[in-house]
C-alpha cells in the first residue's frame, strides 16, 4: 500500500513538472466545462471530438486531455442547472431541483462555489477508492447479474417516487410510471419485438434520453421565463466565490457519503452519472432531519452538495470497471475506451501486464484533472454569473436555440427535435398542473434496464423468483428497498421510534 502511494506521488510529480502537460490539462478542463454547460452537448460528444484532435499526440498527453475534459464536462452541467434551471447534462438534473431556488434567492454565487469545492473533494475521495479498493470493487461489480440490475433499477424507481412533489405524492408516481413507459418504446432487447413504434423506423431504437431531458426541462423553462411578469433579475452575488471553510465542514458528512454513493454507482457496469446524482439526492433527503428535509426543493445546501459530489465521484467509479475489466461504466467511459484503443492501450484485466502502473497513472491524471476543474470552476463562476444580468427576454430565445442545436448535435437526427418539442409542451402543461417532471426522466433512464434485466433473469431461472434470495447483493438490495418503502408509512416510523426508545431504556437499565 505504502509503496503504491509513493509510486503514485512520483508519477504525480512527473506530470506536474512538465508545463505543456499542465496547459493541455487546463485547456481540456475548460473545454469540458463549456461542453457540460451547453444544454445537449454531453461529455460523450466532447470526448469523441477530442479523440480526433488528440490522435496525433502521445498516449499520455491524449489521456490527460480526455480525462480533463470528462471531469470538466460532468461538473459543467451544474452551471445551467443552477443558473437557469436547465440541466446541461442528465447528470445535473438532480442539481437543478435545489440549485435554481438558490439562484432565485440571489445565492447563485454561493451555490456555485459550494458545488465546485464539494465536487473537487468528492472526486478526490472517489480516487482514493480507485487506488486502494479497485480490485475489491471490481469483484463486487461482477456480482451484478440480471437480478441485481433489475433490483438496482427498482431501487432507483422507488427512490424517485419519494422526491419532492409540489402537490399530491401520487402525482410523482404517475409521472415516474409514465417515464418508465416511455422507456419501453422501441425494439425490445430480448426478442427484438417492436413495441409502440407505430411502424416508424425512427422509434425503433427507442427514445433518446438527452432530447427528452432538454425537452422536459428546457422548453417549459423557456416558456415560463419569457412570460413571467415583473422579471426581476436576481441580485448577482458579489464578493467571494470561495466557500467558507465552515460551509465545507458543515457538509463534510454529506460530501463523504455522496462520494461513496457516486463511486459505488459508477462502478456498476452500464450505470453512470445520470443515476448517481439522483440516488445521492434521495439518500441525503432520507437521512436528513425533519427541518432539513423541509428545505429540500427550496434551495437546500445539502441537496446540491449531495448530487454534485456524487456525479463527480462517479467518474472515478466508472473508471474501475473500465480499467480493470474493460467494461465501460457509463457512455462517456465507452467513448474513452474507444480513445484508449486508438492509442494502443487495451484496458482490461491484462492492463497491469501490458502497461504496469497504468491504474496509478490514470489516478494521478484524475487528481490533476479534478484540481484543474476546481481552479477553472472558481475562476469561471464569477464570469458565468454575469449571464444572470443579461435581460431575460434577450437571453432566453438564445437559450432556446442552444437547446435545439444541442439536441440535434447529439446524433444529428431531426427526429430528436420532433420528439423534444411535444415532450416539452407536455412537460410544461404537466408542470402547470403541479406534476413533478423529474421522476419522468428518472423513469426513462431506468426503465430499459428494469424491463430487460427482469425478463432476462426470469428467462434464466425459467420463471422463478427464488434466485433473488440466493444472491447476497440481491438480498442487500431487497432489504434496502424494503426499508425505504416502509419508511414512507407512518406506522413504521412510530414502530422504529419505539424500538429505539426501548433499546435506550434497556441500555440505561
Amino acid at each position: 500500500m505504502i509503496e503504491q502511494f509513493s509510486q503514485f506521488f512520483s508519477i504525480l510529480i512527473e506530470l506536474v513538472s512538465t508545463p505543456s502537460n499542465l496547459i493541455v490539462l487546463f485547456v481540456a478542463s475548460f473545454l469540458g466545462i463549456i461542453f457540460g454547460a451547453m444544454p445537449g452537448l454531453t461529455a460523450t460528444l466532447g470526448v469523441a471530438l477530442l479523440t480526433a484532435l488528440t490522435y496525433g499526440l502521445g498516449a499520455d498527453t491524449a489521456l490527460l486531455a480526455l480525462l480533463g475534459l470528462y471531469v470538466g464536462a460532468i461538473y459543467g452541467g451544474s452551471y445551467p442547472a443552477i443558473l437557469i434551471n436547465i440541466p446541461g447534462t442528465p447528470a445535473a438534473a438532480a442539481t437543478a431541483m435545489d440549485g435554481y431556488p438558490l439562484t432565485q434567492k440571489g445565492l447563485a454565487g454561493k451555490a456555485l462555489g459550494l458545488t465546485t469545492t464539494a465536487s473537487f473533494i468528492g472526486t478526490i475521495i472517489g480516487l482514493l477508492f480507485l487506488v486502494t479498493l479497485s480490485p475489491l470493487i471490481a469483484s463486487l461489480a461482477l456480482q451484478f447479474t440480471s437480478w441485481e440490475f433489475f433490483l438496482l433499477a427498482l431501487l432507483g424507481i422507488v427512490l424517485s417516487g419519494s422526491l419532492t412533489s409540489p402537490d399530491l405524492v401520487i402525482k410523482g408516481w404517475i409521472t415516474g410510471l409514465l417515464g418508465l413507459f416511455l422507456a419501453t418504446v422501441g425494439r425490445d432487447a430480448l426478442q427484438f419485438f417492436p413495441r409502440y413504434t407505430f411502424e416508424q423506423p425512427q422509434l425503433d431504437g427507442g427514445l433518446e434520453i438527452v432530447p427528452v431531458l432538454i425537452g422536459a426541462f428546457g422548453i417549459p423553462q423557456v416558456i415560463r421565463a419569457l412570460t413571467t411578469k415583473n422579471q426581476t433579475t436576481p441580485p448577482a452575488f458579489v464578493g467571494n466565490i470561495m466557500p467558507e471553510f465552515k460551509a465545507i465542514k458543515r457538509n463534510i458528512k454529506h460530501i463523504f457519503r455522496s462520494a461513496t454513493i457516486g463511486v459505488g454507482v459508477g462502478a456498476v457496469p452500464g450505470v453512470g452519472e445520470d443515476i448517481a446524482g439522483w440516488v445521492s439526492y434521495s439518500t441525503a433527503k432520507k437521512t436528513s432531519t425533519k427541518a432539513q428535509q423541509a428545505e429540500f426543493g427550496k434551495g437546500s445546501e445539502i441537496a446540491i452538495v449531495s448530487s454534485e459530489t456524487a456525479n463527480n465521484a462517479c467518474v472515478g467509479g466508472a473508471l474501475i470497471p473500465l480499467l480493470t475489466l474493460g467494461i465501460p461504466g457509463s457512455p462517456p467511459a465507452a467513448m474513452l475506451l474507444g480513445a484508449l484503443l486508438l492509442h494502443g492501450i487495451t484496458p482490461g484485466p491484462s492492463i497491469e501486464i501490458d502497461h504496469p502502473n497504468f491504474l496509478l497513472e490514470v489516478t494521478a491524471i484524475m487528481v490533476l484533472a479534478s484540481f484543474a476543474m476546481w481552479a477553472n470552476g472558481l475562476l469561471m463562476a464569477k464570469q458565468v454569473l454575469k449571464v444572470l444580468q443579461l435581460p431575460t427576454a434577450l437571453f432566453i430565445p438564445v437559450v432556446a436555440v442552444l437547446c435545439i442545436l444541442g439536441a440535434y448535435a447529439l446524433n444529428l437526427n431531426m427526429f430528436s427535435l420532433y420528439l423534444m418539442v411535444p415532450i416539452g409542451i407536455i412537460a410544461f402543461v404537466l408542470g402547470e398542473m403541479k406534476f413533478p417532471i423529474s421522476p419522468m426522466v428518472i423513469g426513462l433512464v431506468l426503465g430499459g434496464m428494469a424491463d430487460e434485466s427482469l425478463r432476462r433473469a426470469l428467462l434464466l431461472s425459467e420463471g422463478s423468483f427464488l434466485p433473488i434470495f440466493e444472491r447476497p447483493v440481491a438480498v442487500i438490495l431487497v432489504i434496502v428497498m424494503t426499508l425505504f418503502i416502509l419508511a414512507q408509512f407512518k406506522w413504521f416510523k412510530v414502530l422504529l421510534a419505539r424500538l429505539t426508545r426501548l433499546r435506550v431504556r434497556t441500555n440505561s437499565e
Partner: protein, 281 residues
C-alpha cells in the same frame, strides 16, 4: 358540447371571483379539477395502449427465443399499466372528493383563460416553437430559420413593440405557408414529407430567399418601431438576432463539426466556401 359552451362565461366569472379571494382551498380545488381532466385523458390513452399491448406475442418462438409469459415483451408494459391504472383511480377518487369533476366540459379550463395575456403568450411561444422546429429548420438554412425565430420572440418580449404579436404571427404564418407551398410543388419524391430535411437545391434556394426576405422585413420593422422606444435596445436586439445565431452556427459547424440540418443552405454554403476555399483553413 354547445350547451356547456354557453355556460362558459358563468363558470369563468365564478373562477375569477375565486381567484380574487386568493383562497387557498379554492386554489387547491382548481388543481383537483386539473387532476380530473388529466386522469380522464390519461385513462383514454392507457386504454388504447392496453389494446396495443395485448397484441404483443405472449407465446411461441420469436427471434430465436422460446417465448413464455416471463419473456413476453408485454410483461413489463402490463405491470406498468396495472400500476398506472391504480394510481389513476386513486387520483380520481381524491379529485372527485373535492369536486374535481366540475367544469370538465369548459374549454377555458382545458386551455386556460383566453383573455389572460400571459396564457395567450404561452400558447404563442409554443406555436412559434412548433413552426420553427417542424417547418423552418427542415426547409431552409439553419441560420436564417434561427434568426427569424429569435427575431419573432425578441420583438414581442424584449423590444415590446406595440401590436408586435399581430405582425409576428402574420409574418410567421405567411412564411410557413410559403415554405410548405415551395416544398410541396418542387418535391420530386412523394415519399419525402415536409418533415424530412430539404435536399433539393432549387427548393432550398427558394426557401432561403423567402426566409431571408421575411427576416429582412422583420428586422427593418424592428429597427423602425424600436428606434421610437429605445435606441440601445435595438442595438442589443440586432446583436441577438443577427450576430449570435451566426456565431452559434459557425461554432457548431466549424469547431464541433456538426453538419447543419439543411447542409446545402445558402448561408452555410457561403460560410463553407469562405472558410475552406478562401481562407483555406
Amino acid at each position: 358540447m354547445t350547451d356547456n359552451a354557453s355556460g362558459l362565461p358563468i363558470n369563468q366569472n365564478n373562477n375569477d371571483q375565486n381567484n380574487e379571494k386568493g383562497n387557498g382551498k379554492n386554489n387547491e380545488q382548481t388543481y383537483r379539477q386539473y387532476d380530473f381532466k388529466f386522469v380522464i385523458a390519461l385513462l383514454v390513452i392507457l386504454a388504447y395502449i392496453l389494446k396495443l399491448t395485448l397484441s404483443f406475442p405472449m407465446s411461441g418462438s420469436y427471434g430465436g427465443v422460446e417465448n413464455q409469459w416471463y419473456v413476453s415483451p408485454a410483461l413489463f408494459p402490463l405491470i406498468l399499466l396495472t400500476a398506472l391504472f391504480l394510481c389513476c383511480i386513486s387520483l380520481l377518487m381524491s379529485s372527485i372528493k373535492q369536486q374535481g369533476h366540475q367544469h370538465f366540459f369548459s374549454l377555458a379550463h382545458w386551455l386556460g383563460n383566453k383573455d389572460n395575456q400571459q396564457v395567450r403568450d404561452r400558447w404563442l411561444i409554443i406555436g412559434l416553437l412548433i413552426g420553427y422546429v417542424y417547418l423552418l429548420i427542415p426547409a431552409t438554412d439553419f441560420y436564417l430559420a434561427t434568426a427569424v425565430f429569435v427575431c419573432s420572440l425578441t420583438s414581442i418580449f424584449y423590444l415590446q413593440i406595440d401590436q408586435a404579436r399581430r405582425t409576428v404571427i402574420a409574418a410567421n404564418i405567411l412564411l410557413a405557408a410559403t415554405l410548405v407551398t415551395i416544398r410541396s410543388t418542387l418535391n420530386e419524391d412523394p415519399s419525402i414529407s415536409i418533415l424530412d430535411i430539404n435536399d433539393l437545391e432549387n427548393s432550398i434556394l427558394y426557401c432561403d430567399l423567402s426566409t431571408g426576405f421575411t427576416l429582412i422585413s422583420l428586422v427593418i420593422w424592428q429597427v423602425i418601431c424600436g428606434s421610437k422606444i429605445d435606441k440601445p435596445r435595438v442595438m442589443y436586439n440586432l446583436i441577438a438576432v443577427l450576430i449570435v445565431p451566426l456565431i452559434l452556427v459557425m461554432a457548431f459547424s466549424f469547431l464541433l463539426y456538426v453538419p447543419m440540418p439543411v447542409e446545402y443552405g445558402s448561408v452555410i454554403s457561403f460560410l463553407n466556401w469562405l472558410i475552406y476555399e478562401q481562407l483555406g483553413i
